[in-house]
Symmetry: C2
Subunit: 218 residues, 2 copies
DNA sequence: CGCGGATGTGCACGATGTAAACACCCTGTG
DNA sequence: CACAGGGTGTTTACATCGTGCACATCCGCG
């Protein structure tokens, strides 16, 4: 992105400009409208003003296109989580409480993202595993800047501040992630979507406190 | 089932016999093979030896067929959970510990069902909400015999035996269900499917203990 | 015996993903 | 400056899917 550099005239530089980006953009729109199953290859081509098979010059498959969209969504979710962390914390809060608060915040942000962008969220879990978020071999900086990495960092912070026992740290991502993903999923595709917003938020808040309590042993 | 009563000759009684059942059976097979997106109306008709549009005499939609399959799967999951409850508990276990154990058992059964029957499990969360499992208005006997009802009952048992504070009871289904659904989902459609079975089971067991601890306050 | 409604068939239409052959035009090289 | 090559987009085609509509068939009831 920001590659519009030397193109003084914004007529398409040669064939289309960059179709790949346009297709992903179209894919993002369609995903927002109707989730991953509404993300059609032909419709993406249509929106980009191009013939259906042109897509294959940039994406091997429909799933490849979906995967590209998925990556963008993943980054957006990560951004929402980071933003939730960035908001200031009440003064005089001790570090452990702060770490705990951080866990609650990224959890809330995760679920709220799913509620605010249902289609986007569901794309992240459409056909096939995650693109480059790390499953188990959690190694080094490769992890950060992505939702899983953010969670990892917060859990580390909890250990560092004494909010979480070091013995409880290994594998702590799993229950935490499972909880927020379960909440999001049951709201979007399960029965909890029928709850009025207020009750839903209370339910989420309670669930997050419960998982935090379970992790830290209170 | 077991309706083969008065049909002495097993030639199809009149047109087909009962197409509806055959279609659901075919649907169950297809779901087991490739999940909800592999559950095609035409293929179901093919397997039942019938023309595609014949399906519409028994199901308004493709989604109606999926919903019928979903109901069967839901019952199977409930059966698996009840079976997990039925196995005997170590002698001398006090009622509260027993109730706790029950919660762990149905949680384990839930996730194991998902792992053992990925396609079936995913059908339960395919297009549209739950058929007749109760979302929020949890009322009376209508609930039992189904996964959500089983969970409700176990939570009630926990309160009755003192394993769970009465104040923590309202809405306790949500975090519990979110946890197991999150685990199942992340295993089937997320990164945790890559874990070797032993590690996966350990991860699930740990997560279940954590949610139980969070609920009961230890 | 015959009729009506339940059940199943045939055909058609538009949508989708994708493969193969062709057409264009930018870019680097002689 | 000309020209070949390859990256990019088009056209055409095929198999699949869900579904509507008109027709055929056959059971059971009067």
């Amino acid at each position: 992105m920001a590659k519009t550099a030397s193109a003084s005239r914004q007529q398409q530089p040669y064939h289309h400009g960059n179709l790949a980006e346009a297709l992903v953009a179209a894919g993002l729109d369609m995903a927002a409208e109707g989730g991953p199953e509404a993300l059609s290859l032909r419709e993406a081509a249509r929106r980009a003003g191009v013939s259906p098979t042109a897509v294959y010059r940039h994406f091997e498959d429909r799933t490849a296109l979906v995967l590209a969209v998925k990556n963008v969504v993943l980054a957006r979710l990560a951004a929402a989580m980071e933003q939730a962390l960035a908001k200031p914390v009440p003064r005089g809060m001790d570090p452990a409480a702060r770490a705990h608060e951080h866990l609650i915040r990224i959890g809330t942000a995760y679920v709220e993202f799913a509620v605010a962008h249902p289609g986007d969220y569901r794309v992240m879990f459409a056909d096939g595993c995650f693109p480059d978020d790390t499953p188990s071999g959690v190694a080094g900086e490769h992890v950060s800047g992505r939702p899983y990495g953010i969670l990892s960092n917060v859990l580390d912070e909890m250990v560092a501040t004494g909010a979480l026992a070091a013995a409880a740290r290994p594998g702590a991502e799993a229950p935490a992630w499972a909880m927020v993903h379960g909440l999001a999923s049951l709201i979007l595709e399960g029965p909890y979507g029928a709850l009025p917003p207020g009750e839903r938020e209370a339910m989420v808040a309670m669930s997050l406190e419960i998982i935090a309590a379970g992790l830290t042993g209170r």
